[in-house]
Symmetry: C2
Amino acid sequence: MKRDSRLSGVLHVLLHMAEAGTPMTSDALAKMMKTNPVVIRRVLAGLREHELVCSEKGHGGGWTLCRELQTITLHDIYLALNEPTLLAMGNRTEAPGCLVEEAVNSALNQAFQDAEALLLARFRTVTLAQLSSDFHQRMQARGFSGIHEHSIFSDNDTNSSEE
Amino acid sequence: MKRDSRLSGVLHVLLHMAEAGTPMTSDALAKMMKTNPVVIRRVLAGLREHELVCSEKGHGGGWTLCRELQTITLHDIYLALNEPTLLAMGNRTEAPGCLVEEAVNSALNQAFQDAEALLLARFRTVTLAQLSSDFHQRMQARGFSGIHEHSIFSDNDTNSSEE
DNA sequence: ATTTCACGAAACATTAATTGTTACGAGAAA
DNA sequence: TTTCTCGTAACAATTAATGTTTCGTGAAAT
């Protein structure tokens, strides 16, 4: 079964937005994520409803974070993504009339619920600020000199194009 | 994202096989699971490779459990299903060149790995014998009198058809 | 022997979910 | 008034999963 990478993708996007300081367009984000601008808008529209990001039209418009990094947890983002499925497995049917099915569901549900609870608990403990801090540490470790250079984020990002 | 219910389904099937005593045909199992006999064969073929079930052709043939219930854990079955994905979410890319991505992956992977480990640990502790025992307790609780009746397993199962 | 029953396996079809794309509208700045 | 950007709906493409058909093989019943 294929894994949903929207949470991972959104985190990537939000951290880049935090670094940018200025609004980032759907086009720019789409290129970073190697996807389509409309897909970016679709996902960020959900975050906007939860007031995690703001969008502005017109010249100089685009997407910005509208809350402090340290106030946004992974759980907030998970909620803003509309609580996507966490586990790839589930029971065949709920509301079974079959006693075998009931016994099976009961055993599996205990395991599934505990795993979900663990994940959500973790999500609550991680803030965007922590991820950002981790990112900056990695930059230090890679010998970033302190002021703007090419390829701050990656060897592939070409957003620091012609200057 | 849709959940994979093969584990749940296989458990259902195996417990019914355990109750039956005699070989069960793919057709009979398919009707129970409201699916196609070929689908049943596909799934059980994997279990056969791991020597959890045996199949026999011809009259009186079908599928039987070939190990004792108490020796089969959910983890054995999970392995026999070829270790299906446990979590519905994953990282956008591994092997990132982007430091933001690295920071994100690192944080998420910790949570994901812990949740997976929890699930697998649980799977190791549960045997088919326990599920079977749970099933029998549920039968008692429903007032099963002790000898064969109609609808042992469910109000829907029509395998105890004309007698 | 022949028929019937059952699995084995490959090829193909269908379905459902996700993702990508196009097109057009509306607001804001240059 | 032109350009930039998001908003939205409709549509297309892709992919994974599931279901179906068909024919082959072995085993038991007749």
